[in-house]
């Protein structure tokens, strides 16, 4: 993409995991039987009226503060009017030109330093119900026999965050989205699980000649539910747009819909429909005027942000490990576990993650003991210990009993036996087939049931084969 710069902006939707919905007292929840979390308000029965969820307002303010936003002294709910079966009132209660949080700036550390992403707004709205297309071809609206509507999700509080077009590569966008997700999770307002749909994002992509500050026609990528698909989709779209411009063409404004379950396939394209939502202030609700006390309380609930922690850990670990630990929610365990910093980081990031152990369940002291003994105990003992490290009452000591055999006097007879049993291979090694060393090491490890220190076995074998 020499000569071109990508311009990327994101819209992120986050479900607030309040106990009840945005405008009624129905429980929020994922996975309950269809239409069991409903009432006259979220089913839009005639005469029902919305009552705003105060906690959702407080949480949106908390999020806004974490995103560096100003909290508007007066915010207004608007009605966004459109017909769709998942929109029971025929309008969505949202915010329009007077959102709750405005003009933010969010710091995203990167390998080449910190990037500040402008936050245009963060506003509060209600989610739609869920249309379920039955019959026909696998959940797709086209060809479905009929559509059923599950209103459990209708009215779930949803925050929409809109960034400025400040991101310039797929990697940057991915880093931003991952950090944002972790921030949301740490604020305690949402699990931000993309599989459950509690976090979703749309990305706007355009390209321009490097050095220019124009904004060209953008396309919108919708329904992305993984960071990797986002990055792939953005890259693909950047390349496509560049190819169009280089061929002398024009990019058309359109929307690219990812198909759930087939996100790695090229998305479906559709022309952007100019829809008139006939926004007007919601007459059933009075404006929100957050008190100073409320804003201060929300501010007190914002801890050290993950972005700041990445910057703090970067000095000792480098950006990649620091970012990985923080955005996967593992840096607290890292910070509390003693030992060689890189080793601790690697164990937590790679081995502990591979063992699918919840870092929050791990006792840092016991983990420290394990890391310290890592070189001295058999590999599978270490792996087993790690896998169990999240269990209640886990004690590293139980796994440290079997130290590795590192004593040459103990290993030499085994090595000699192996060489005697494998004369052909030994001869071939000596003749130059050095790759056979691994085979011979393996034989020794087998003879010792994996208890030999592989480093010492290596050394001794080389020496004996030289002889």
């Amino acid at each position: 993409m020499t000569g071109w710069e990508a311009v990327i902006g994101c819209e992120i939707h986050v479900h607030l995991q309040t106990e009840t919905k945005m405008f009624c007292r129905c429980a929020t929840g994922f996975g309950d039987p269809e239409n069991t979390r409903t009432c006259p308000v979220c089913l839009a029965h005639p005469g029902s009226l919305p009552v705003p969820n105060e906690r959702a307002i407080e949480w949106t303010i908390r999020l806004g503060l974490a995103l560096g936003c100003e909290i508007a002294p007066r915010a207004v709910f608007h009605r966004k009017n459109y017909f769709y079966p998942d929109n029971p009132k025929g309008y969505q209660i949202s915010q329009y030109d007077e959102p709750l949080c405005i003009s933010g700036s969010f710091a995203v550390p990167g390998p080449d330093g910190e990037k500040r992403v402008g936050i245009v707004r963060a506003h509060l709205e209600e989610d739609a119900a869920k249309n379920v297309h039955v019959g026909g071809s696998g959940g797709r609206i086209h060809g479905a026999d009929r559509t059923l509507v599950d209103f459990n999700r209708a009215g779930t509080p949803l925050v929409e965050i809109v960034t400025a077009p400040d991101l310039h590569s797929a990697d940057e966008a991915k880093r931003f989205l991952q950090l944002l997700r972790q921030t949301v999770r740490e604020l305690g307002i949402s699990s931000a699980e993309m599989q459950e749909g509690s976090m979703r994002f749309d990305v706007n992509v355009s390209v321009r000649p490097e050095g220019s500050d124009e904004l060209r026609t953008r396309t919108e990528l919708k329904n992305i539910n993984s960071f990797n698909f986002a990055a792939q989709g953005i890259d693909r779209e950047i390349q496509r747009q560049i190819a169009i411009y280089e061929a002398g063409g024009e990019v058309e404004q359109e929307t690219l819909h990812f198909v759930p379950g087939r996100e790695d396939a090229p998305p479906l394209r559709s022309k952007e429909e100019a829809q008139d939502y006939r926004y007007f202030p919601e007459p059933d609700l009075v404006p929100i005027e957050p008190s100073a006390e409320l804003v201060e309380r929300a501010r007190a609930d914002v801890g050290e942000l993950p972005g700041a922690r990445i910057e703090r850990l970067e000095a000792e670990l480098g950006y990649v490990l620091a970012e990985g630990l923080v955005t996967s929610g593992r840096d607290e365990l890292y910070s509390r576990t003693a030992g060689d910093r890189r080793t601790v980081a690697n164990v937590i990031m790679n081995e502990l993650a591979a063992a699918a152990v919840d870092p929050a369940a791990v006792d840092p002291q016991e983990l420290g003991k394990l890391v310290e003994a890592r070189e001295r105990i058999p590999r599978d003992a270490f792996t087993k210990a790690l896998a169990a490290s999240g269990d209640a009452g886990f004690s590293a000591q139980d796994y440290l009993g079997e130290a590795l055999i590192a004593d040459a006097a103990e290993l030499d007879p085994v090595i000699e036996r192996v060489l005697a049993d494998n004369e052909d291979q030994a001869a071939a090694y000596r003749a130059g087939k050095e790759g056979l060393l691994g085979f011979l090491v393996g034989q020794v490890m087998r003879e010792t049931q994996g208890k030999a220190n592989p480093r010492i076995v290596n050394e001794r074998l080389r020496e004996k084969l030289k002889a």
Binding site: P40, L43, A44, H45, P46, G47, S48, L49, P50, V51, P52, R79, N81, F83, P85, P88, K89, G90, Y91, T147, V149, D276, R278, Y279, F280, P283, D284, L285, V286
Partner: protein
């Protein structure tokens, strides 16, 4: 027609044509009648006279309470009792919950008599826009009872209910009360919960009592008013509701807004009756002066016809055939929407949905809806200025007495003008009370009393004093 008699236990005659709610309360307290007997007496009256008046869409056979029975406009959600808002699109719809006002009446022990006829979605001034046929005026069945709460007004005037609830967006309680010779209160916006009231224009809708007397109005207002956690636009009443007792108007400054009293189209007989009432105010000790509301009267109606249809276009979007009510047999969601709404809505809702959708659309919003909101602020300011000089403002409620059925159905604008005098205070969020102040050509004339926000007690006091002095007989001559 004769008087109605209680069914069954014949302990005494219950004259439903004359009995006020307050008198009914006395009967109950003195144990001269039970709630069930009262309920039956009114059901008998309904059996007798409703075939002609068509005030009711639904009646409830069993008395659910031992108090004075009540009728609700069919815009008020009643659990398990069909609630249609006068529309075919809600035929057969039975709410799963009670409106707050319905719950408060039930908690006060008022048994529901039934649901009254209305213009579809409260859009109209004659009840002729009901999908279930018009109601008729008890004073003259060839004439309309007004609207949109025409069924409630006809029921009270015709002795089919001792009191009733209506809803008033642009005069829908006051105007039918005026045309039927009964008392109608449009309360201060925000004092009566809208929860469970099928919405027409949310920023204007307000439920109000329709009664035979001002004291009954105050009694019913006391039951329904007050903050409701389910309607965040409600507020607590700044002072308790008082039952008016004073017969004079000493110390009350009465303003006569020139434009509201001299507007084009006010019938001479209406002006004369109102003028007599104004003279009476002086006799009762009020200070009477003239004032002006030029912009409120000039712009009130056009402003209303931008704001109310805009909100209605959005409020009526939920009637889409997906969850309840009518669903047209069509394949495909778009066709289902279009056919359901085409078959389900009558002409007036369709007209207002189109008006409103247009006024809210991109490129027109500022010029129409946005501008109307600014004008509304101006109207509020103009009323506030007039109400600094005066405690109460007086005018006719409606420019005309009850008009013949069909007289205005072909001309929506003529129909809209029927509310030209009732709308301006509504736009300002103010309370207003209509009381009968005499007859013109044998038909009742309504007097509108307008006060500042939360001045219901004052309106009741002034209305009661005038009512005593006027000694209007609320029983239609032909039924007496």
């Amino acid at each position: 027609m004769g008087h109605s008699f209680a069914r069954g236990l014949g302990r005494g005659v219950i004259d439903t044509l004359r009995l006020t709610a307050e008198q009914a309360i006395d009967l109950l307290e003195r144990r001269e009648a039970s709630g069930g007997e009262l309920h039956n007496a009114y059901l008998t009256a309904i059996d007798e006279r409703d075939p002609e008046l068509h005030a009711f869409l639904t009646t409830v056979p069993e008395a659910g309470g031992d108090g004075v029975p009540i009728a609700f406009k069919d815009v008020i959600s009643t659990r398990g009792v069909e609630t249609t808002a006068g529309s075919k699109i809600l035929a057969g719809y039975r709410p799963v919950y009670d409106a707050t006002v319905a719950a408060r009446c039930r908690d006060a022990g008022l048994p529901l008599l039934g649901k009254t006829n209305m213009d579809e979605f409260a859009m109209g001034s004659s009840t002729e826009n009901s999908a279930y046929g018009p109601s008729r005026n008890p004073w003259d069945p060839e004439r309309v009872p007004g609207g949109s709460s025409g069924g409630s007004a006809a029921a009270v005037a015709g002795g089919l209910a001792p009191w009733a609830l209506g809803s008033d967006t642009g005069g829908s309680v006051k105007q039918p009360a005026a045309l039927c010779g009964v008392v109608g209160l449009r309360p201060t916006y925000g004092t009566v919960s809208r929860f469970g009231i099928i919405a027409f224009a949310s920023s204007l809708d307000q439920v109000g009592p329709i009664t035979k007397t001002v004291r009954d109005s105050a009694r019913l207002y006391r039951i329904i008013a007050g903050r409701d956690a389910c309607d965040t636009t409600t507020v607590a009443l700044p002072e308790p509701v008082e039952l008016p007792a004073s017969d004079d108007l000493r110390g009350v400054r009465v303003g006569v807004p020139k434009e509201l009293n001299e507007a084009e189209g006010i019938e001479p007989g209406v002006s004369e009756a109102v003028a007599r009432a104004i003279d009476l105010c002086r006799e009762l000790g009020a200070e009477v002066g003239e004032c002006g509301l030029p912009r409120s009267v000039e712009f009130g109606l056009p402003c209303y016809y931008l704001i109310a249809p805009s909100e209605a276009s959005s409020n009526l979007a939920r009637y889409d055939g997906v969850r309840y009510g009518l669903r047209a047999a069509a394949t495909g969601i778009r066709d289902m929407y279009e056919q359901t709404r085409d078959e389900g809505f009558g002409d007036e809702p369709k007209r207002r949905i189109m008006l409103g959708a247009y006024a809210l659309s991109a490129g027109y919003y500022e010029a129409f809806y946005g501008q109307a909101q600014k004008v509304r602020t101006m109207i509020r300011d103009e009323f506030a200025a007039a109400l600094e000089r005066f405690d109460v403002l007086l005018s006719p409620t409606s420019p005309t007495v009850a008009f013949p059925l069909g007289a205005k159905t072909e001309n929506p604008l003529a129909m809209y003008l029927s509310d030209a005098l009732a709308i301006p205070p509504n736009m300002a969020g103010l309370p207003s009370l209509s009381i009968p102040c005499g007859l013109s050509e044998g038909l009742p004339v309504g007097l509108q009393l307008i006060g500042p926000q939360f001045s219901e007690n004052l309106l009741f006091r002034a209305g009661h004093a005038l009512e005593q002095a006027l000694a209007f007989d609320p029983v239609p001559a032909r039924l007496a």
